[in-house]
């Protein structure tokens, strides 16, 4: 742990009991002592109490996992819709579809 970070981490924690309490907070997570040390070191670097750091990291990761899962589900839905399109024959050529794209945008903007 760097000296500046160390100083911040222990500021106001001159009593041994207070240090112990801070360590216990991280110890509540079922990780190895090495991982706990890593968490304490990272928390000191970003100047956050270890418990706050761990909670924030867990929340960020949970949000990321949920959004990834939602994106994957949306991609599956898109795939199913693309497959469904195969069943319905097109009535326009490629060039006509492009022209309709331009026309629909112009009309949407006139309406907006």
């Amino acid at each position: 742990m760097g000296e500046a970070a160390d100083e911040w981490y222990y500021q106001g924690m001159t009593k041994r009991a207070a240090r112990g309490a801070a360590r216990k907070t991280v110890a509540a997570y079922r990780v190895t002592p090495a991982a706990q040390a890593l968490i304490r070191r990272a928390a000191a670097l970003v100047r956050e109490p270890p418990s706050v750091y761990v909670a924030r990291a867990a929340e960020d990761r949970a949000r990321q996992d949920v959004s990834e899962a939602e994106r994957a589900a949306a991609r599956r839905r898109l795939g199913a819709l693309l497959d469904a399109m195969e069943a319905r024959p097109a009535r326009l050529s490629e060039a006509e579809a492009e022209a309709l794209g331009r026309e629909a945008v112009a009309a949407a903007r006139r309406r907006a």
Binding site: A74, G101, E103, A104, R109
Partner: protein
Amino acid sequence: MKRLVLDASAVVAALCSPGRGATLVVLEAARLGLVQIVVCDEAEAEYRRAVEHPRVRRYARLADRQGFVSALCDGGMRVRPSAEPLHVWHSADAVYVQAAIAGGARTVLSFNVRHFLPPPAPNVPAPRHPVRVEVAGVTVMEPRLYLPALREG
């Protein structure tokens, strides 16, 4: 992963395309996770309005057009468009480039490439049908021109 933005004309063309269209190929790539579509609220609103055009309703190959837009947008990367001011011919199209900038996408696919040209100077005729335009470091091109880049991986 490559990121790109689709404008509303490309989304409508995909819905009505006979099946071998470049936009559909790009959407298949998005489905497989090979490219990521970047979207913003403004773009989604325009997609939703455009797919309700009466002729799109008639010719779309899907009845659930809004579901198609939802799946497209939910599967993409949602950003807030960059605040960078852009001078393009049709100011309503600037939001696609701003979304591309915000999402780190280098490409916007559109069938209205001409809209992204700078506003024409008086007495200077604008190119009639450009297929590729550079705006603030983002390339706006017709979807078929993107296919070689897709093949490169």
